[in-house]
Symmetry: D2
Subunit: 360 residues, 4 copies
Amino acid sequence: MSSTYGKIFKIATFGESHGAAIGVVVEGCPAGVTFDLAFIQQELDRRKPGQSRITTQRREADTVQVLSGVFEEKTTGTPISMVIWNEDQRSKDYSHIADQYRPSHADFTYQTKYGVRDYRGGGRSSARETAARVAAGALAKLVLADLGVTVQGYVSQVGKLKLEKEYHELDLSLTDSNAVRCPDPVMAQEMFDFIDAIRKQGDSIGGIVSCVLKGVPVGWGEPVFDKLHAELGKAMLSINAVKGFEYGSGFAGVELLGSEHNDAFYTDEDGRVRTRTNHSGGIQGGISNGEDIFFNVAFKPVATIMQEQESVNREGEKILVQGKGRHDPCVLPRAVPIVEAMAALVLVDFYLRDRTIRHK
Amino acid sequence: MSSTYGKIFKIATFGESHGAAIGVVVEGCPAGVTFDLAFIQQELDRRKPGQSRITTQRREADTVQVLSGVFEEKTTGTPISMVIWNEDQRSKDYSHIADQYRPSHADFTYQTKYGVRDYRGGGRSSARETAARVAAGALAKLVLADLGVTVQGYVSQVGKLKLEKEYHELDLSLTDSNAVRCPDPVMAQEMFDFIDAIRKQGDSIGGIVSCVLKGVPVGWGEPVFDKLHAELGKAMLSINAVKGFEYGSGFAGVELLGSEHNDAFYTDEDGRVRTRTNHSGGIQGGISNGEDIFFNVAFKPVATIMQEQESVNREGEKILVQGKGRHDPCVLPRAVPIVEAMAALVLVDFYLRDRTIRHK
Amino acid sequence: MSSTYGKIFKIATFGESHGAAIGVVVEGCPAGVTFDLAFIQQELDRRKPGQSRITTQRREADTVQVLSGVFEEKTTGTPISMVIWNEDQRSKDYSHIADQYRPSHADFTYQTKYGVRDYRGGGRSSARETAARVAAGALAKLVLADLGVTVQGYVSQVGKLKLEKEYHELDLSLTDSNAVRCPDPVMAQEMFDFIDAIRKQGDSIGGIVSCVLKGVPVGWGEPVFDKLHAELGKAMLSINAVKGFEYGSGFAGVELLGSEHNDAFYTDEDGRVRTRTNHSGGIQGGISNGEDIFFNVAFKPVATIMQEQESVNREGEKILVQGKGRHDPCVLPRAVPIVEAMAALVLVDFYLRDRTIRHK
Amino acid sequence: MSSTYGKIFKIATFGESHGAAIGVVVEGCPAGVTFDLAFIQQELDRRKPGQSRITTQRREADTVQVLSGVFEEKTTGTPISMVIWNEDQRSKDYSHIADQYRPSHADFTYQTKYGVRDYRGGGRSSARETAARVAAGALAKLVLADLGVTVQGYVSQVGKLKLEKEYHELDLSLTDSNAVRCPDPVMAQEMFDFIDAIRKQGDSIGGIVSCVLKGVPVGWGEPVFDKLHAELGKAMLSINAVKGFEYGSGFAGVELLGSEHNDAFYTDEDGRVRTRTNHSGGIQGGISNGEDIFFNVAFKPVATIMQEQESVNREGEKILVQGKGRHDPCVLPRAVPIVEAMAALVLVDFYLRDRTIRHK
């Protein structure tokens, strides 16, 4: 199992959904970062369950405890260990699935690969693991903030409800003003009602999180394999339920001619080299070019639904399964801080890697 | 610069478009693989320039030379070094761009990041580098072939010309029967004519390569970060000109309900656990589930076009640039073996990693 | 800071001497290992302070708590997180050194490198960190035990008191029968008295831990860089206070002729290829050859002594420093389980890596 | 097989003794280093065979060819590939050992581990591989030279002939003035005669290479696992025939009291924090402290001797083997540039890693 991410700013996450705790060890965080614990907790609060009636009602305070790496409110350059205790474990909710393979969950693949699995609430495959990513990503955001770099995610699509405006036509400061985390209040309400209706049917729905990275200087990303968008793509695809990633012109760009798609260079009034359009999505040759970076992340509908479904058990016998626990009808609202966290981790890693590129 | 890929089956590529040679060192290839040099050369031939009038006319034999790691036609477990000499360097073609930033190329970002760059033909940022990947990927395919695993890519879209049939409705054995590498002969001809028309305009066009992996056993992939689709995504996004990646239901899946999207399990006549549908794209929880794996890769239009474009030079002065060398109006046909190579590299790495998962 | 060790069986340690806790996350432990918590605790007890009057009187129960990765007493293949809480922190003991550089400690180098440091008890540079290694190493020993591989360390020298017998002339089962961990009872008593006398002088003394690895099959180790002895050497040199490493004939071997040093091969009655002598120390070409592996690790005298010493403070001003806390006059007895733990970690990693070497 | 070394400045070596070529790909060399090819060749010349009658008479020009990563005599930040062609392969010399296990060589362990091996001249286990390290190390030295850091190795012991003076009592500029590479001309002559006598007996002898690193600033090295001396140790132990490593006070230091061993700090006339003694060998807590770094590396006698020895073949049958090819009676003179190369590689890697340690 690979629970480590990053080359310089490296995180190692651990923990199962219904074990004692989940957590993360961050190695390679530079020394001297002001450790704003309140901000980290606030990011966790954005991800935690029970925020509105369209998210799971599992009760978790998700309070983070710091075990190491911080002294007198500064990072010391040593590993930073953060733990989030599992409070509302309710293991009995899951006893009925010990032997079952839930459709489109990881039960079957984990059991076959490892020969053993912690079946309680999905164990390690539960999206609960992403809380550890959010804690580490919040720390990464603190580093980026000192560099003037921001990471802003928002829900741009739920089912067929799609925000047609692009990121620069929206007021992204409104994102967290509603339970859906869609920066367009009208669309946000539509999405909320839609998700709520699906919740009542015991069903689930997918959607898209869009994300914008502003203030990234020219030079982050490492071709030929660790291109900035390749790492962003991997980071996003590693999030539970993600099915696709595109940046800049993305899939739509395949229909354009080169003469339409190419971004003409010019020099702006500050003497900075800029591009007139941004089909490149702020990345050229795998390296940031100073323009805004933007990308989309596709999430499938949550696998757990409250309807009966055909499946098999470990013995291969036909069974019917039905979700019982407390689950999200749509992960998108809670996915926004996770997408942001992973993007921040990618950026900080390249920020530090970039320091090693030039001689003297 | 990161030119290394893989954790166990690791490749390190090197070389510039117009340097002495490009090549790759493969470390971690298991000992005892029958080294079929003819097959490796054949894969390189599928990628090499000059295959038809819709690909670049640069002349490169792309003959591979093996320097190490093979003895009596078997791999020995030691690093395998393969070199492809650059024959048709024609550096003079590129002298005019020493000081220019070509739109949507990596000239500006490389120059800014590294402070120095080999400007001849894009240097390291040239897609010529992918020949080294194809050589290594061919070796990976040899390993997979012994396991009954196949990797089949094909062109499914060029501009707006889109193959509506899914992979299982196509005869993929026809893929290499035409210059476009589209398995539907009628569509292939349409695409060919379209690309050829664009070539005559001095323009370029994007498209999509689809890819199917058959025979992958249950268990490949390592959550939580190195999920099988996350590594496939990164590998694809690391290829020049790629803008997006999706697998299984992909971006379209966001519009489905959970009750529509979930893949019901059943046990087949051989006692094997299967799914009735395959929205999961053969991967659940980041691990292969034994079904076919399929994904799409979006390529933007080639940045080099034969038309005048606005840009700036290193001094930030406004200039006009115009492609002169020998370039592809559409990379898709030559991209197929590259996509396959990267997929094969991802699979072989997980095949070997999977051996370390269980105790005894 | 690098707090990660291993390529497949990877550990990430964290924690400062006087922070909330120290701990370790083990990634890559195979699934299905019987998790014997009592054994892990027992190994920690061998390292913990306060075992006799010749070890530090700091009071730490060093009770390990498992947060993840174990279900129904089996490892699940997911990260195993183990935490040891710091109970006897007594931070006030160290306030006097906030600004001081203690001779031959890491105060000066940490302060200069990181610009900030947790000065309490050495912070991250304290040997307390090695408790986390012992916990992880105990888990590694559990894996090895199932393979019939044993790791046995013992104290072979303290100051000039040197055990002249070689490991095969000793009864290593007596090692833990005395406070010094020397398998020769007579020498053990001499060493104990010597260390106790040094303790009374407020001074400290160095020594050598020898270690024998039995039952290692032919084939562990990965040339050319990760030779078995190179990894063992690095692992040992990473332990606090270690100044040297040698294996097999070691430094003494440089005086031998090739005709004296070479180990003649023969086939034993079981048809197994053996060597008549073992100057190779069980490793040839960086790979285990099936013979016993043995090596020596040199430890300098502990830097903290109860005598006044010349030094400087952060401002570079001349000061006198004197140890006050509770320290070991000789680390050797407590170093034995640490040496064993690191050796076990090296071996398990190669055991797993070796599974990827051969095709089919 | 692990043929990769380094985390930022990474090398991947390849090649067998009697294959087409050996070589190295250097990834992570900073952009903008002046690439002094003549210097790199000169370092290779220091290692190459045939320098005097006490080294092997195998004829190899060992001319390096650069395939990538250098443009207009500067490194570009892209992978630098260097190849050394094998000229004097004489494979027929080795046909007689195809089926034999030479005592204290890697034949038996390679055959058992990999199931196949290139038996010609030891194949990958041949010390010929170290030429690739020397090429990469020479590049590392170029980087270090710009920082004022020097790496100086010399032969301090051959058999029982031991230089009693320490490095600061010697004129290290004389090291390359004689065939042995001992900076004391009188001792050098004694050693030469001794090695020559052993050569005539068809035997071999071991010895020690000492090495001094001057000019290393405070701060290189990464505790807790990648301590500077731990990486130096691993790097040295990865060189063929090395049996031991010690730094600073080394093995002798175990006999000292803490009050004798501790290095008192003081502030020198330039305001720099220094130590009055240097038992620490320039490294404290795994990090360079600004003093000279020095260490010793023990080499066993070369395994190939011209005398008959008992052994077995692949079938386990008793045989007699006798060296025939062209081998060194003592590797020490040629080992000096190899030790220096590995030390330079370790230092450059930490130089670059150190850039990532502090925030802003």
